[in-house]
């Protein structure tokens, strides 16, 4: 069987509250792809990412993610979503829970088998009993990457992954992205500054004023 795309956009558009954000998107993402998405502020990069994460539905056209689309039943959709990981622009942590609980809760909800201590890998083991509300942005970012160490997503979506991370933590991004691609998955990295995105990138995409185009290398 020929390689089967993980994500397929066909003439997809997205409008919210009467404003057109993306239009005429045609894009396929194959296994092993590592996409770098760049473009000016407000061009629609984050919306493209959320469409790929099934968090938004296109208002026109088709967007099929891991074979889930408009006809997918809720139970199957939940199973598909479990294969997607997103690290968004703002860190997703519960401020009242400790750093350890923040990592543990997600893996409990996902039902992942216990693995060796991910907090140690990201260098937070000494602070694991801190409440997340005390942690800095960089620490929260590390917590998010610690969550990604316990499993390998099929689709990894990163929005400005280096924001808040110090230089010592940057290899974390490369490691996670590399592992996903090696396992037949794909990664999408959004950054308005393409120079800083990881060297692993295989394709570059430009989003500008709601339109998506492939950049020729």
């Amino acid at each position: 069987m020929a390689s089967h795309p993980l994500v397929r956009f066909e003439d997809a558009g997205y409008a919210a509250a009467g404003t057109l954000i993306l239009r005429g998107v045609n894009l396929t993402i194959e296994p092993g792809d590592i996409l770098g998405v760049s473009g000016p502020n407000g061009a629609g990069k984050t919306t493209l990412l959320r469409l790929t994460a099934t968090l938004h539905r296109p208002t026109s056209g088709v967007c099929s993610v891991l074979d889930a689309d408009a006809d997918t039943r809720p139970e199957e959709l939940a199973a598909v979503r479990r294969k997607i990981a997103m690290v968004g622009h703002f860190p997703a942590v519960w401020p009242e829970l400790t750093l350890r609980e923040n990592v543990e809760l997600v893996s409990r909800l996902r039902g992942d088998p216990p693995s060796e201590d991910p907090l140690r890998t990201v260098g937070l083991e000494a602070l694991e009993r801190w409440k997340a509300s005390r942690a800095s942005l960089g620490m929260k970012r590390r917590v998010e990457f610690a969550r990604l160490l316990t499993w390998t997503p099929r689709l990894l979506l990163l929005d400005e992954p280096h924001a808040g991370l110090d230089a010592a933590a940057a290899p974390l991004v490369d490691e996670v992205v590399g592992r996903v691609a090696a396992n037949g998955g794909a990664a999408v990295l959004v950054s308005h500054d393409p120079g800083r995105v990881t060297p692993l990138i295989t394709r570059r995409i430009l989003v500008s004023a709601g339109e998506v185009s492939e950049e020729i290398r």
Partner: protein, 256 residues
């Protein structure tokens, strides 16, 4: 430019006006009731208002269910417009009922009365609905959440009613919807005035509803700058209640 709908609406306005005038005339001519005197004439306002309110809110509920199944923006417009109109008639019902209660029972309000209480609770509930509607900007989220709220209200309002009914009630029994027909409890001249009153109220409600619908259609058209049609009803995720979506082609497309 006059469209067909404009002309229809004008015609309907004339019918409504005629029904209202006829109803008022009959009510003025009707004799006072045997024990209640002229206070009983409030019947010609109170009962039609209550029927109209329930009718409008019922339409609102059905449209909300329709929205949850098909996610059609038209269903959302119908649901919200009908509920808005229904709230107005609920107010008329409550106020006329209170005045009547004062004249006949000697009380503006009775907490033990099931219909008074459930109507009042219903009124506050739909005030919440209108407040929620105003608070959500995204049309899709607004339509979805408001439809859910309308459905919850439909489930819960009968419970509210029966819970208050648990006490024996002071309110008289139903006048019209009884198995033996209304003739058994009401003299004919009252019945005629009441029938005309109901007609006038339902006509007025329909008129208000159609005007409100036209207004929301215009609002939606104005807000939609995307050129893609209203941003409701298509997409990647599953349909709301298992019904078909309005979405385009799906699995196994040309690239598959």
């Amino acid at each position: 430019m006059k469209t067909k709908i404009d002309i229809l609406q004008r015609l309907f306005f004339l019918i409504t006006a005629a029904a209202v005038v006829w109803g008022l005339y009959l009510a003025a001519r009707a004799p006072g009731e045997a024990t209640q005197g002229d206070a009983a004439k409030l019947l010609f306002v109170h009962v039609p208002a209550a029927i109209t309110a329930y009718l409008a809110l019922g339409v609102g509920l059905l449209a909300a269910l329709w929205y949850l199944i098909r996610r059609s923006p038209a269903a959302d417009r119908m649901s919200s417009s009908a509920i808005e109109v229904g709230v107005i008639f609920t107010v008329v019902t409550l106020v006329s009922g209170m005045i009547w209660g004062r004249a006949v029972w000697g009380l503006w309000w009775d907490w033990n009365d099931a219909r008074l209480m459930s109507t009042a609770i219903m009124f506050f509930y739909y005030m919440g609905y209108l407040a929620l509607r105003r608070s959500i900007i995204d049309p899709e989220a607004r339509a979805g959440r408001c439809a859910v709220l309308a459905v919850i209200g439909f489930i819960q309002i009968p419970i509210v009613h029966y819970s208050v009914l648990w006490f024996r009630t002071l309110h008289q029994g139903p006048t019209i919807l009884r198995p033996d027909g209304f003739r058994s409890t009401m003299d004919e001249e009252f019945a005629l005035s009441l029938a005309v009153g109901i007609m006038a109220f339902v006509a007025a409600m329909t008129l208000m509803l159609t005007s409100r619908l036209t207004l929301s259609r215009l609002q939606d058209a104005r807000n939609d700058l995307s050129g893609l049609g209203p941003p409701v009803g298509r997409g990647v995720t599953a349909p709301f209640m298992g019904g078909p979506t309005m979405g385009g082609p799906t699995m196994g497309g040309p690239n598959g």
